[in-house]
């Protein structure tokens, strides 16, 4: 499914007369989005940027940028936030993360905001491992003739939205511009290849906080992976318990049927080549290696 929004006129964000029932926050505690309940659906407000109205019955989306400057931002948010929310609400599987192709299989990097998902996708792409997606991992479960489940990773837009310092490092040129969220959009090219076809999911790589100097990459068990994967789900209505139950079961299946790994490394650009060697080498060796020594 490709989600499109009915692009409406620029509309200033009027105060809401009901409290938000949910919100997204960034790592610093700032509010990224508020979720409000309307009579016949939902309103998602990205403050001073865009309002999205979603019809509860049809899941049709209407987009209201807060100003002319926010029209492009609305389009990006439609792909990176609204589409996965609506998709998961409909029983599909979208996770917050990036993904790259290694050895013909897709590997998804999942982690909290600012843990380096897009920077990793860019660094792997520069090293010859094409990126599939930079912010939302769209998965599809299939049961093969053998009866075993497998997941397909779908490609997303061939662009990377990077913070300026990451973009400067990846492109090896000084950049001093960015959009309102401090990120700049970079299109794929021969030096930053994008995979434009779905590939089988090879594994899920959960990113640690990078709070020490050590580098590590290891297989983790499904019960340990599931809570971390659950944190990267897109949930439109946290009070819709039947849908939450369904989503929990789908993610449980994913954790059971997929190789899961934990990756941690210091968040300095100089570490990236070593991270790539560590991950690619370990996947080829069955999944466990540390980066020390």
């Amino acid at each position: 499914m490709t989600l499109t929004a009915d692009q409406n006129d620029v509309r200033s964000q009027r105060p809401m007369d009901v409290p938000a029932f949910d919100s997204w926050t960034d790592p610093e505690g700032g509010t990224v989005a508020f979720f409000y309940r309307l009579t016949d659906g939902y309103l998602l407000r990205f403050p001073d940027r865009v309002d999205f109205e979603i019809d509860a019955e049809t899941l049709a989306v209407r987009s209201f940028p807060a100003s002319e400057d926010m029209v492009d931002v609305a389009e990006a948010l439609l792909h990176n936030a609204i589409a996965p929310l609506v998709g998961n609400h409909s029983g599909r599987l979208h996770l917050h993360g990036s993904a790259v192709v290694i050895g013909g299989r897709g590997y998804a990097f999942l982690g909290l905001s600012r843990r380096g998902k897009t920077t990793l996708a860019a660094a792997f792409a520069r090293a010859g491992y094409p990126f599939l997606t930079e912010d939302v991992v769209k998965l599809e479960r299939r049961v093969g003739e053998s009866g075993l489940a497998e997941y397909i990773v779908h490609p997303a837009r061939p662009v990377l939205r990077l913070y300026v310092d990451s973009a400067s490092h990846v492109l090896q040129s000084e950049l001093d511009w960015g959009e309102d969220d401090g990120k700049t959009e970079i299109a794929a090219d021969h030096a930053l290849p994008h995979a434009d076809s779905p590939v089988p999911l090879g594994g899920i790589i959960l990113l640690g906080p990078g709070e020490n100097d050590d580098m590590s990459f290891a297989r983790i068990a499904a019960p340990d992976a599931l809570p971390a994967i659950l944190q990267q789900a897109f949930i439109l209505d946290v009070e819709d318990k039947p849908r939450l139950r369904g989503h929990f079961q789908r993610l449980g299946d994913l954790a059971m049927d997929t190789d899961c790994y934990a990756l941690d490394f210091p968040r300095v650009f100089e570490a990236l080549p070593f991270v790539i060697d560590l991950v690619v080498g370990a996947i080829g060796n069955g999944g466990t290696r540390d980066g020390n020594g």
């Binding site: 068990a221 499904a222 019960p223 599931l226 809570p227 659950l230 946290v238 318990k241 939450l244 139950r245 929990f248 079961q249 449980g252 954790a255 059971m256």
Partner: protein
């Protein structure tokens, strides 16, 4: 918590077996809880219907061939933990 207290799975709890453990999520708070094989069996019994703590202990003693006094201490501790996390509710017999 008393041995004749009756436990029920909370409406806000959802659980599934994953790789030999039982992972439970509280739908209201989004918190997670993981149970080993014995804890998972207790959860399975509770999902099948409300039960007193004593009955849970009796099943575990029988199925896991463990001393009753040890099992009772462990089951009471687990029940208290699950109740503190709003994953089960308790009512007096």
């Amino acid at each position: 918590m008393e041995m004749d207290d009756i436990l029920s799975v909370s409406d806000d709890a959802v659980a599934r077996e994953v790789g030999g453990e039982t992972v439970i999520m509280h739908l209201g708070s989004g918190t997670y809880f993981s149970l080993n094989e014995v804890g998972g069996r207790i959860w399975q019994l509770l999902e099948a219907g409300d039960r007193p703590v004593a009955e849970l202990c009796a099943v575990i003693v029988k199925e896991f061939d463990a001393p009753r006094e040890v099992i009772e201490v462990d089951v009471l501790a687990l029940a208290t933990d699950l109740m503190d996390k709003d994953l089960v509710t308790r009512r007096a017999a």
